[in-house]
Symmetry: C2
Subunit: 373 residues, 2 copies
Amino acid sequence: MLAKIDKRNLEKLLKRADGVADKKASMAVLSMALLTFEPEKNLLYITTTDLEQGFKGRIQAEIEGGPLSFCVPCRKFYEIIKTFDENEIILQKDNSRLIIRDEEGSSKFELACSDSEEFPSLPEFAEENLLDIPGKVLAELIDKTIFCASKEEARFVLGGVYFEPLKEDGKLRAVASDGHRLALLDRDVPGIEDSNLKEGFIVGRKGAEIISELAEDELVVKFGFINNYACLFNSYGFFFSRTLEGTFPDYRAVIPQEFKNILKISRKLFINALDRATVLISEKFKPVKIDLKRDELILSSPEGELGMAEIKLRAEYQGNPLTITFNAEYLVSALEHMNSEEIEMKLNDERSPCLITGYRDEGFLYLVMPMVI
Amino acid sequence: MLAKIDKRNLEKLLKRADGVADKKASMAVLSMALLTFEPEKNLLYITTTDLEQGFKGRIQAEIEGGPLSFCVPCRKFYEIIKTFDENEIILQKDNSRLIIRDEEGSSKFELACSDSEEFPSLPEFAEENLLDIPGKVLAELIDKTIFCASKEEARFVLGGVYFEPLKEDGKLRAVASDGHRLALLDRDVPGIEDSNLKEGFIVGRKGAEIISELAEDELVVKFGFINNYACLFNSYGFFFSRTLEGTFPDYRAVIPQEFKNILKISRKLFINALDRATVLISEKFKPVKIDLKRDELILSSPEGELGMAEIKLRAEYQGNPLTITFNAEYLVSALEHMNSEEIEMKLNDERSPCLITGYRDEGFLYLVMPMVI
């Protein structure tokens, strides 16, 4: 026997590790997990990387024999562990095979291993001076903004979440934008003044999504920016992601400070009406014309080959009559990330950006450009 | 106003009609629904066809004005109706547009119409002398066999479900096979002796799936075979499907009458073990070797690049030691369509077909060929 391990914890750790490994890797070793058995501490370490990101997690294990390390295909190891019903799993090493079995020996898997020397060495980070932040807060900063990050390769600095420490306010800010819309969330983080977070940094989409997953179930994590890497320590491991190079655009300059018109509307009714108004549009961009008059809102789709739609809604509108067109997807995706029953849309004219906020969405704002047809 | 209609019934009817319409039609009219308003009976008829299949359903409607018929895009009409929260929907006709709105007029859709003359005329069938069969029984005959029907274009007569009246036994039989495996289900149908069902007929996959859907919620439906069409009348409409030409193979000849070896095993444990034994096989065909000894079963995957798996199971085996290989998918798909806690596998040798039955699966049998490697 090499090790005896709790099945549920191993499955959870492998799920995280598999999220980092590179599934379409041209280098086979990037789809591998490096397993390192340390008998003195009774710990098994599992490491994966795609060269831009890296993860090293640990799990308690009853280990026999000397220290040992080797690589196995991460996804397959994870899939095998998932199939076990037992609470404990036995690992054995037999030449170039890892044997995975239950205690009784009624099921046995053999998985091909390779040498640990092939596995790339990863940068290491000290846990000191990082920011202590509740896991849920960090996950929320990412989840409420990342949907706006660009998916186009060309817009490199827009392809992630920009983190900006606002030390004077004791806040951490997250911003993401694809150039057509922008989401911003501020959260109080006591202690940010004393952390070594000094400047803003951009975490790419994959890295940001993994940070959110590694943080969300944790009471407190350590988060920081060191030598062009964003890094995170949680209760069972650490993760790093190389930050995107370049400067995040001056987003403050595009947020208007004054608005002439304000619409207050039920968030759920608005989502429903936007979905209905676009049911006859087959194209990816779904323009919806919004006619604003006192206490009434009319959504309509442009006259298309198949027909058109028109939805009237009651709403509270203060301002001049205005007709403005938005890509419905850009409104719906933002509204779905909000919590408020009623939201506020602030507008100037049909060519100027619109600001969306909500009473129950403190610290959050969403800016969206109208479509000019 | 043209008509006022109950929303839920209209949505349900359009869902059925849309299942028949041809979504990838080269002829646009085959993706249309023909709407026929009959004020005398206060009925709206909805008809769709892909030329091989046809459906004509009816729904109560409060109709004003004279009889009228025209075509609308079926899928879009269905999608629009789905978005309504209201219980009743108003239809209006405005030149070449169908207007769909709620009673208040807060939402309004305009859908392009075309002339009813373009719509193909469909064969008609008399309801007389058809077989009265409980809807659930007809649906079960299809659902428990169709998963074996061939998906290959070349095997035309195997691409559906073969219905065979067994008048002497008072049963209706359904059989499907792709040449590697076969599923058969018999069900008592009182009255089949007196129906005009005389010979067997093959209903293609799409037709059989629709018949199952149209039958499953109905107490009794009328089912029959008239002039190369299978046809079905349910409580709100009728459906026909052109039957497949050619003769269904003599399946009786391939079912062995005697077996030397019998395995009794828990169905759920067997499914689980088959899934586990194939976790390391990435290919479509998943060979699993089964070693049968007294009271023990060992499943193993062939030695692959990534490794191998071996699962032991307790089972009741009467017969000679035997090693036989199956495509795991062929076993799992059959076991998942069965109800019995314990199933019986009857075997002769490693090259002969295996018969699977179960105590709680009366009238059902499944025959599968082993893989010869």
